[in-house]
């Protein structure tokens, strides 16, 4: 039930508020679904320094620095971002902290907006760090504040894991008390603790083990891990969002809810296990709790019943354990798929349209909106692995293929992803004499995650003026001789630039530059859509092949064709939806029959 003081917030908004209430002073992150809104919201609070870092490793190191200076520090990233930040993470486990340091890992079971669904609880085990896992927004805010206190008390970074159904779920919560760091801000030299050369690191390694033992004692208490009384015929051990599904699927059962997923309370788990007839471990993705609980010698059900892939929900949890409980459902209707698509007027479309015409070319793709260039009708992306991997994979293929790959390897990367981890790859390609083409899709923004500024945007997280990287100068500086900037909406110019670059016998860069149509200034700009003179349409489908959501095709019969004044063999005609059209003009450039134009032209 709610009252007048209740707030309605997403998990990410709640975490931002929790960071503020915890007295965080410095926060750094890289956008990534489902973590992005944490930093966006935190940037609106007074007294907290926030920034977008070029990548997660940089962001975490900034937070470590702030912690070393004695303030509470915070780093946010999505699950795959932790892979990028793993290097500092594993050693920060040895150095410990001065100001409390919490690292958000926002995991994406089901891969709603990710390339894999890795389970980052494994990082807590591997990096020997405590991990806190809330189930819902209100708990996320409270536990985050506790996590900062845990961090300072036990001299450890704390991993704070959320999943999509915590981050992007809204719930009811209340404002809380303000807390402060126990550390004092200032320069404090502690070389034996934070200069991690082998002799010092070996000493810290022992401290890490002692710390884990102490954290196990915390786990045995009720601060994070609680037993909820109930019927002991079936007992459940669960945590994170899975706890909510257990509570709905088996409301009568006894539950050991783990708010701390590492280290685990062995005594508590064994006691609970002994008190129930049958023990079930309910967790999304990996059998993380299950393996560690089985290693304690405790018998339990887990992934023998519960799926180890994708998200769980109440129905899956219930029917996995009680197969007869599955209700009869209406069969799904057979419908056309509706996958996401690049927006009407998206500048990336001009590049992918041209690449789609070059059938011999292998397009090594990257992570961003432009990964949608993979989808038909463009189908112009042949690989996509991780952030920054476009240019490096093209280079590796070039080295493997030799002459056979000449003039056939193109890598495609967005501006934000290029800055994230593409620059190193480009340096390698030049240094090791790649003869491939890198297309940098520069739309001045980190678009996929919802238009966050980046080091090429000219604005910081708060929208204030900031240095804007000159991408062409940067490419020249690392040794690229051929750098051409093109307007992707000009299909012919774009094709020429790609062809020229592919014919060169050296590493070449084409910068496709036009702003994202979702930028506020683009939305505010005068709406000047194109329209179709359907009487001129010859049914060639050139415009339809762009795959623009504003263009649709209508099939017609020979009789209808004649009635409309077309040639009898014309199969149909194209129409532009003027409400959706953003006036990019790519289709008009492709139309040879003057069927597409706009007012005043």
């Amino acid at each position: 039930m709610t009252d007048d003081n209740s707030l309605w917030m997403s998990g990410n908004e709640a975490i931002a508020m929790g960071a503020y209430e915890a007295g965080v002073k410095v926060a750094s992150g890289y956008p990534g679904t489902p973590s992005t809104e944490i930093m966006e919201n935190l940037s609106k609070y007074e007294g907290v320094y926030t920034e977008w870092a070029p990548n997660e490793k940089v962001g975490l190191e900034v937070a470590i620095g702030a912690s070393f200076a004695g303030v509470r520090a915070f780093a946010t990233m999505k699950h795959v971002g932790v892979n990028v930040a793993a290097d500092p993470l594993f050693t920060a486990s040895y150095t410990g902290v001065r100001g409390g340091l919490v690292v958000i890992t926002a995991d994406d079971p089901e891969m709603h907006s990710s390339q894999n669904e890795q389970d980052n609880r494994n990082y807590a085990y591997a990096a020997k760090l405590p991990m806190i896992e809330p189930s819902e927004p209100a708990e996320a805010k409270d536990l985050l504040k506790d996590a900062f206190e845990l961090s300072e008390k036990f001299d450890t970074p704390v991993l704070f894991r959320i999943t999509t159904r915590v981050a992007h779920v809204k719930g009811v919560l209340q404002k809380g008390d303000m807390r402060e760091s126990a550390a004092t801000c200032g320069i404090e030299k502690a070389p034996a603790k934070i200069v991690m050369l082998p002799a010092n690191a070996r000493a810290r390694r022992k401290v890490v083990e002692e710390r884990t033992a102490k954290l196990m004692e915390v786990a045995e208490g009720d601060a994070f891990n609680r037993v909820e009384e109930g019927d002991r015929k079936r007992g459940f051990i669960t945590g994170g969002v899975s706890y909510l599904y257990v509570k709905e699927a088996f409301p009568e059962a006894a539950v050991l809810k783990l708010g701390m997923s590492w280290p685990l309370p062995e005594k508590k788990i064994k006691e609970f296990a002994a008190s129930v007839d049958e023990l079930f471990i309910v967790e999304e993705l990996d059998p993380f709790l299950e393996y560690h609980i089985k290693a304690m010698g405790v018998e339990c059900h887990g992934k023998d019943l519960i799926p180890n892939q994708g998200e769980l929900n109440t129905a899956i949890v219930r029917s996995s354990i009680d197969p007869d409980s599955a209700p009869e459902l209406f069969a799904p209707a057979e419908l056309p798929m509706r996958p996401p698509n690049m927006c009407a007027g998206c500048p990336h479309r001009g590049v992918f349209f041209n690449l789609s015409r070059m059938k011999d070319v292998f397009v090594s793709g990257d992570i961003g909106c432009y990964t949608l260039g993979f989808l038909p009708p463009l189908s112009a992306m042949d690989s996509c692995v991780c952030m920054g991997a476009s240019v490096t994979i093209a280079h590796g293929m070039a080295k493997a293929l030799g002459d056979e790959g000449k003039g056939k390897l193109v890598s495609v990367i967005g501006d934000s992803t290029f800055i994230h981890t593409g620059i190193n790859g480009l340096i390698n390609s030049v240094y090791n004499d790649s003869k491939t083409v890198l297309v940098i899709l520069d739309n001045r923004i980190t678009a996929m995650t919802g238009q966050q500024n980046n080091p090429a945007s000219g604005h910081n997280i708060k929208g204030e003026a900031a240095n804007a990287i000159n991408i062409e100068e940067l490419c020249h500086a690392v040794g690229v001789k051929h750098v051409e900037v093109v307007n992707p909406h000009d299909i012919a110019e774009c094709r020429k630039a790609l062809k020229t670059a592919l014919e060169l016998d050296e590493m070449a860069v084409v910068i496709s530059r036009a702003p994202c149509v979702l930028l506020p200034e683009m939305k505010k700009a005068e709406h000047r859509p194109y329209n179709t003179k359907t009487e001129n349409c010859a049914g060639c489908m050139a415009c339809v092949k762009l795959g623009c959501p504003a263009i649709s095709w209508t099939n017609i019969t020979p009789e209808e064709a004649v009635a409309k004044g077309y040639k009898e063999k014309q199969k149909g005609f194209a129409v532009i939806n003027e409400v959706q059209c953003n006036g990019c003009g790519q289709c008009a450039a492709l139309c040879k029959f003057e069927a597409i134009n706009r007012e005043g032209e």
Binding site: M1, T2, S6, W8, S10, T33, P34, T36, E37, H112, S113, E136, R165, H168, V169, K170, G171, V172, V241, L244, Y245, K247, E248, E311, N313, T314, A315, P327, E328, L329, F330, A331, P332, A333, L335, P336, M337, R338, P339, P340, N341, M342, C343, C369, T371, L372, L375, P376, P377, M448, T449, G450, V544, G547, P549, I551, S552, W553, T554, N555
Partner: protein, 193 residues
Amino acid sequence: MAATGNILFSGVGGQGILLASEVTAYALLSAGYDAKKSEVHGMAQRGGSVTAQLRYGDKVYSPLIEPGRADILISFEMMEAARYLPYLHAKSKVVVNTQQIKPPAVAMGKIPYPADVLDSISSRGITVVSVDAFDIARDAGEVKAANIVMVGAMSAFLPMDVEVYENIITTRIPERFREVNMKAFAAGRKITA
């Protein structure tokens, strides 16, 4: 109320589903219910099928609606209503905007937009209310208020009075859009009430 009520919002990225689900959520909260809402962000928003799932009751645990348990389906696009058929039960109420947005294969002329798509729902005996939200919103003065027309049409199936929604529109929507949204809500409500 003992059981948890489940409202499934469906449509296409960019149709204003989030605002509609927020207005509904605030109305439920101000009536004293606990609530949880699950949204989809990121890649799916780029013109793909999207949903928002809103659950309310004395105490709500899970943010996700179970298949077969959506009490209300409010769809902002016609075909998208049929996509969530497995979430419905015999007594579900379905409110559908009759606007059709062509998915890529239809826009390219490869397959037709499914004919009589709502029959797949009504043939199961489920109540389907069709709303021409676009035209109604235009008459109210702003086509972008189509989402609030839909909330109005759905509101008759929820336990709150009209005043609760009016209060939310007054306090949560910027002043310059208030009047048109009030009109849009009332026009939508008239269809079902």
